[in-house]
């Protein structure tokens, strides 16, 4: 048989006459290198017959053994090989068996082609997988790489080398590791010209990964040796392909070492971090220089030649590598001296030192540090790359080069990247050198974008837009590294106008383009607009130092012009879209929230020129209103309404910032202008706000409302009022400037004066109350007079009203207003607002209850809450007492009434504050009995059941920590009864429906119920953590922990495995459980067998859950249980008692103790199963006390594990590793912090040591 194979091999070899010498050379080359000490295996080399031992084991799964590929493979492995394999661990010592390498190669090739043809892919995958997972497949893989004609097979072989080497790294010999890397390197060099580039790229990346894996082990000399060859290839070689591959290798190396793009190797994060630092310190600059040399060397040839030459490929690869290196996240040695020097340098303010600006378009600041100065700045790099690109631009008409050819693209990208270089790389010369460099860059870039109208015309006629877009990006990068003044100056040396003017003109042109092509599917103008908008944002947002220079006057007028064009285009777009009906629904929602981002950038532009732009907005607004009134009854107002809608949004953004939960201040830019305004009522901001509020007030008139105030316009009005009022309405006193005036500077005083005038105009003692009253009346109108307009009412409830009651100085006035009392009265006592959406009713109830803290005394607040809720609780109580409740409960009108009332009570409950706590407790106490009655009456109406549960959850959440012991006892008793009732209704219940979607709805409802119940238990738990009661709970015989455990016992049977698939439910269940076990292990010990068994089973289930967080929770619970048991035992107590020794499974069979069971399954998990490395630490914390508790069991397990290991060498390693797991690092048997830490370390190294071979065998 062997004979026949040899013949085949010779035939095969002969069929490749050209490759023959190369092949013989290669084969001998690396085999000789690998086995230089053992020549015995070389058998008549001139026949090309090599005997190689096959380390490749067929491990195809049983179910696919019938497949031909696999059976072929099994045949290919002679019994001797199998026995050799079983005999153990032969590293590079056995002679390679040519025939077997052949066979392996063919089986892999077969698998590859059958996957491609989709013939029995499972079996083919198994074959390929078995190559990856077999121990030491290197020779086979190398053989395939060298010999296979099938590119896919070579690709897979490279991957297999990587997988195996990473897995077996810890027990490969150092020389062998190096030889693997060398093999890969030689391979890519030798096959640099191959057409299947992806194979070379893969091999290069394998080499890079292996090099990284060994980075900390290899000596500097080892690395030098490797990089010497790389350098030779990249810079010294005259062969284009070799240079190209060398650069390619460096590219994969850099991306491997960069944390964001590195491949996982199952090693701790520190490893990656160390590699990163080491590369940055020692090599990355050299790499950059090599790439630069390579590019320089070929660039003159490219410039000199009239048509495309192959060197262009090298040049663009080199530029790409340079770009990649400049993208590196330089940490550098943060030189303290240097940075403090910069801090002293007064001129440094000119250049933003480290901006935390993060635009939507990506713009990464490049801060390589001062070490790079010679390479990037002093060497005239900028001039060279600009020249290169300039020369390329001339050639775009030639064949082979065009605007988007790879070389042009990478050159432009590099130029853009050069624009964002900043930081200590520039000397502290007041930013002079950086400015010089930016000016130089701008002189090149300006040709891409100027003159804007001509450039845009050309693009509309079909020219590629990429140069324009890159030009815009370059402007953005420059904006990110400089202040507005510096930015504006840059162009002054080249042109009679500044950069801001150019930016403004360019963006105006882009927006005009957008306006003309509103409907067209041209995306470039959108992209250009967004980048330019980000440029403005980068210029105008305050940097970290908080100060921002004003723009020069020329810049301000440029901004004003631009804003006028922007508003014009927005209004045009608005009126054009007024009648469009397509995806109206999406637009409606997108309008207020998603447009936000763009509008806030517009607002930045408007604010720097607010002297012009705010009066401009006022004019536009009054024009539209006049038009509306003039056309009343005669023309269709829709277009004007849509324009007003847009104007309201724009005005809102310009005047005020989004609070995001805080009280926003008047924007700085607006404060800083208008210093000459003396009378508050002539202040442009006051005029604009006033005209909008007066317009809004007109909506109170029913006639005006029906003719003009469409729901959509009203949405904008409410949105504006919400946003505006949080900044300008009754601003807190402390926002006003210091009147004492530390700076007696005249301008400063005038500034303070105009600011205070603006702030006090709508203040508490001026127009504030009047405006507040108007706002409340408008809100009531939207709630009552716009039936069914959910979005509008949502805005009113959540944004406007809720925003108002959050502010202390507003609510004290609010509660004294008649309009607010009207609102409360309508809500509490009339049925009108039942027609609101349920969630809105809840929010309104919460808002009204929150306003109670505006009352002067606590009595008044509680009285207010009582009057608000009395009617509602009485209503519920009365209903629950009705004799025919069972019959009427399910009538739709009663159903609606009950759910509305419950939603409202829930809203009030979630507004619990110390001041109103008493009244809210009483409210809940009054409805306790009704709730239990309703739970019974509505047991089939899951919607109501859910509301009931949620009310109780929120009420307990708000109340529990304040309750006195007696009240707590009542609440806890109530909760227990609720749980029992719920469980008795639902356990063993099967609902059916013909409809699948109704069934899954029923599942979802049950899931929501259970989640609410778990929340309830968790809320009860908090009583043990925070408690404001004056006496202790024990006096009333209440133990929170026992109650919660009982609750868990009631709830657990309702939770099915099916329901645990809902991640939220699963998380809250396991976090509650592990919390209980951690805090109250002693209560667990007292549980009965059934309850304990339940918990143990649950933990076991959770331990094997796929969600890492759940596993982590279970591990924490296990740690707590085992530690408790161990400590108690140490003190001579029983600990977990019988649970630890014997436990019964549900079938009643006696099982081993729970701790030893968990010890077993945890070890099994750690050694043989898949898990995230993040879990190792918490697993160590659980394993350590478990081992201490069950030392005998552990010893038995360990012995068994060692017994099972047949391979002598592995057995020895395993024994040693197990030994040091429990003995190294001075581990002792006390459970303290230090020991836990030691054990964690031990377990980490133990797993790295043994998991590699335990998992494969």
């Amino acid at each position: 048989m062997v004979k026949r194979r040899e013949e085949e091999w010779q035939r095969y070899y002969a069929a490749w006459p050209l490759k023959r010498p190369v092949m013989a050379k290669v084969v001998s080359d690396y085999f000789v290198r690998l086995h230089s000490h053992n020549f015995a295996w070389i058998h008549s080399l001139h026949y090309g017959v090599l005997r190689a031992h096959l380390y490749f084991r067929p491990t195809a799964p049983a179910h696919s053994t019938h497949h031909s590929a696999v059976s072929h493979l099994s045949l290919a492995v002679p019994s001797s090989a199998t026995t050799m394999y079983q005999a153990g661990y032969h590293q590079n010592t056995a002679p390679p068996d040519m025939a077997q390498l052949q066979a392996t190669m063919r089986s892999i090739e077969l698998a590859c082609s059958s996957i491609q043809m989709h013939a029995n892919p499972a079996a083919a995958e198994a074959t390929i997988l078995s190559l990856n997972q077999s121990p030491q497949p290197y020779q086979a893989c190398q053989f395939i790489l060298e010999n296979s004609e099938l590119a896919n097979a070579r690709f897979l072989a490279a991957g297999a080398i990587r997988d195996a080497a990473i897995r077996e790294w810890s027990f490969l010999e150092t020389d062998y590791k190096k030889s693997l890397i060398r093999f890969c390197w030689l391979f890519i060099m030798k096959h640099a010209g191959s057409h299947e580039g992806y194979v070379q790229a893969k091999v290069a990346s394998v080499a890079a990964q292996l090099l990284k894996r060994g980075w900390l082990d290899f000596t500097a000399a080892d690395k030098e040796a490797i990089f010497l060859e790389v350098k030779q290839a990249v810079t010294g070689s005259q062969i284009v392909d070799v240079q190209y591959m060398g650069i390619n290798f460096l590219e994969s190396l850099v991306s491997e070492f960069s944390p964001s793009t590195s491949t996982a190797m199952g090693l701790p994060r520190e490893f990656h971090e160390q590699c990163r630092t080491s590369l940055e310190l020692d090599y990355i600059k050299e790499f950059y220089c090599w790439a630069q040399d390579a590019a320089l060397n070929v660039s003159h040839r490219i410039i000199g030649s009239d048509s495309a030459i192959p060197e262009a490929k090298v040049c663009s690869a080199a530029l790409r590598l340079m770009l990649q290196i400049l993208n590196w996240d330089f940490k550098g040695k943060k030189n303290a001296v240097e940075s403090s020097k910069r801090g002293l340098d007064v001129y440094c303010g000119d250049i933003k030192p480290e901006s935390n600006f993060l635009g939507r378009s990506e713009c990464i600041l490049v801060q390589p540090g001062s070490l790079w100065r010679d390479v990037l700045i002093s060497s005239g790099q900028v001039g060279w790359i600009l020249n290169l690109y300039g020369a390329l631009r001339q050639k775009f008409s030639c064949e082979g080069y065009w605007l988007d050819c790879p070389l042009a693209v990478s050159a432009r990208k590099l130029i853009v990247q050069f624009c964002s270089i900043t930081g200590t790389i520039f000397p502290s010369d007041g930013g002079y050198m950086q400015r010089q460099s930016l000016v130089q860059l701008l002189s090149g870039i300006i040709q891409w974008i100027e003159p804007p109208n001509a450039v845009l015309k050309a693009i509309e006629c079909g020219r590629s837009e990429s140069e324009l877009l890159d030009g815009c990006r370059a402007l953005m990068s420059m904006a990110a590294v400089s202040t507005p003044l510096v930015f504006d100056q840059l162009l002054k040396s080249l042109r009679p106008y500044g950069t801001l003017t150019l930016l403004s003109v360019l963006m105006s042109e882009v927006i005009k383009c957008l306006m003309e092509n509103l409907s067209e599917e041209e995306t470039w103008s959108w992209v250009a607009r967004d980048i330019l908008l980000d440029t403005w944002t980068a210029l105008l947002t305050l940097d970290s130092s908080g100060h921002n220079d004003l723009l020069p006057p020329e810049g301000i007028s440029a901004a004003a012009n631009l804003f006028a064009i922007i508003v014009e285009s927005e209004l045009k777009a608005a009126s054009a879209s007024a009648f469009s009906d397509d995806n109206e629904y999406d637009y409606l929602h997108a309008s207020v929230s998603a447009m936000d981002e763009r509008l806030s950038s517009y607002a930045l532009i408007a604010r720097v020129a607010s002297g012009a732009t705010i009066p401009f907005l006022t004019t536009l607004f009054s024009e539209r209103i006049t038009r509306l009134h003039q056309g009343r009854g005669t023309t269709d107002p829709t277009e004007t309404l849509e324009e007003l809608y847009s104007l309201l949004l724009i005005a809102g953004h310009v005047l005020a910032d989004e609070g995001q939960g805080e009280i926003p201040l008047v924007p700085k830019d607006i404060q800083a202008q208008f210093t000459d305004v003396v009378d508050a009522d002539k202040h442009p901001v006051v005029i604009l706000s006033g005209s909008i509020i007066r317009f809004a007030e007109q909506s109170l008139d029913p006639e005006m409302r029906t003719s003009f105030f469409s729901p959509r316009l009203m949405e904008a009005v409410i949105w504006f009022l919400a946003r505006w009022s949080s900044t300008y309405l009754m601003p807190p006193e402390e926002n006003k400037g210091n009147k004492s005036g530390e700076n007696n500077n005249d301008a400063q005083v005038r500034l303070e004066h105009s600011k205070n005038a603006l702030l006090s105009f709508f203040g508490e003692y001026n127009q504030g109350k009047l405006v507040l009253d108007i706002i409340i009346r408008i809100s009531l109108t939207t709630l009552v007079s716009y039936p069914g307009e959910k979005d509008l009412q949502g805005l009113t409830c959540y944004q406007l009203l809720h925003g108002l009651v959050r502010r202390k100085n507003v609510i004290s006035h609010l509660v004294s207003l008649d309009s607010w009392r009207d609102l409360a009265n309508v809500f509490a006592n009339e049925r009108g607002l039942f027609s609101l959406n349920a969630a809105h009713q809840r929010s309104l109830a919460e808002t009204l209850a929150l306003s109670a803290s505006g009352m002067k005394t606590s009595e008044a607040s509680n009285q207010y809450i009582k009057s608000l809720t009395n009617h509602m609780t009485a209503n519920l109580a009365e209903l629950s007492c009705k004799n025919d409740l069972k019959h009427i409960a399910q009538q739709p009108d009663i159903l609606l009434l009950v759910s509305c009332l419950l939603e409202r009570l829930r809203g009030v409950a979630s507004a619990s504050e110390p001041r109103t706590q008493k009244a809210i407790y009483e409210m809940g106490f009054t409805v306790m009995n009704p709730i239990l009655i309703f739970i019974e009456a509505y047991k089939h109406e899951s919607v109501v059941v859910y509301l009931l549960l949620k009310f109780v959850v929120d009420w307990v959440d708000g109340q529990i920590i304040y309750l006195e012991a007696r009240e707590t006892a009542a609440a806890v008793d109530f909760c227990t009864r609720l749980l029992q009732l719920y469980s008795s209704h639902n356990i063993g219940k099967i609902s059916v429906s013909l409809s699948n979607s109704l069934l899954s709805e029923a599942d979802t409802e049950r899931y929501k119920d259970l989640r609410a119940l778990l929340q309830l238990l968790a809320n009860l738990c908090s009583k043990d953590l925070v408690d404001f009661a004056s006496e202790s709970l024990e006096a009333y015989g209440v133990s929170i922990s026992q109650v919660v455990f009982m609750g868990l016992h009631i709830v657990t049977p309702l939770i099915t495995l099916e329901l645990l698939k809902y991640p939220k439910l699963c998380h809250s269940y396991f976090s509650l459980l592990s919390h209980m076990l951690e805090i109250y292990p002693e209560v667990v010990a007292q549980l009965n067998v059934e309850a304990f068994g339940h918990i143990a089973e649950t933990l076991d289930f959770g331990l094997h859950h796929q969600d890492g967080e759940v596993v982590d929770l279970c591990l924490r619970a296990l740690k707590a249980l085992a530690s408790y048991h161990y400590k108690e035992k140490g003190m001579g107590k029983v600990g977990l008692g019988s649970h630890a020794t014997i436990s019964k499974d549900p079938g009643g069979k006696v099982q081993e103790g729970v701790l030893s069971r968990f010890l077993c399954s945890l070890l099994q998990l750690l050694l043989f199963e898949d898990y995230s490395t993040d879990l190792v630490s918490s697993a160590a914390d659980a394993l350590f006390p478990l081992i201490l508790c069950e030392q005998n069991v552990y010893q038995n397990l360990v012995n068994e594990l060692i017994e099972r290991q047949t391979n002598q060498m592995f057995r020895l390693r395993l024994t040693n590793a197990l030994q040091s797991l429990t003995n190294s690092n001075n581990l002792s048997t006390t459970l303290d912090r230090v020991n836990f830490q030691r054990f964690r370390k031990n377990l980490h190294s133990f797993l790295i040591e043994v998991r590699g071979f335990l998992r494969t065998l």
Partner: protein
């Protein structure tokens, strides 16, 4: 669809079969609604507008609670819809007859013999098997607009 339209069915007692008017905007997912004369459970509600500056409409997708057929309706959200009175009653199961009818024990001690076994296979086998094993079974019967159907099952036997 007029706002004040009520349906009275002659078969069962009036109280149980009424429908009630309710504003469309207040009908939520998982609530009930009458579409094309059928009692349905709402599985999806979405709102849209008639033109940009028009009023909101509700778009209901609902499932007939008896036949599981999917029905849809669009109603201006300020208008009223009919909401059926859906009642569910528990009865203890006494007997299953040969011809597919069940015999149920009512609250006042009478029997109710006019309900067929459900067509749903899983419920059917569970009822039959459970009954054969001698378990105490309670069935829930859902009724609305004059129709009745067994919709659920619960074992209340000794644990």
């Amino acid at each position: 669809m007029s706002d004040e339209e009520h349906h009275f069915e002659s078969k069962a007692d009036a109280g149980a079969s009424k429908t009630y008017p309710q504003q469309a905007g207040t009908i939520r997912k998982n609530g009930y609604i009458v579409i094309k004369g059928r009692p349905c459970k709402v599985v999806e509600v979405s709102t849209s507008k008639t033109g940009k500056h028009g009023h909101a409409k509700c778009h209901f997708i609902a499932i007939d609670i008896f036949t599981a057929k999917k029905l849809e309706d669009i109603v201006p959200s300020s208008h009223n819809c009919d909401v059926p009175h859906v009642n569910r009653t528990d009865y203890q199961l006494i007997d299953i007859s040969e011809d597919g009818f069940v015999s149920l024990l009512t609250e006042n001690g009478n029997t109710k013999d006019d309900l067929r076994l459900p067509t749903d296979d899983s419920l059917l086998t569970q009822i039959k098997d459970g009954f054969a094993e001698g378990k105490d079974l309670v069935v829930s019967v859902m009724s609305a607009m004059g129709e009745e159907q067994i919709c659920g099952l619960k074992d209340i036997g000794p644990k």
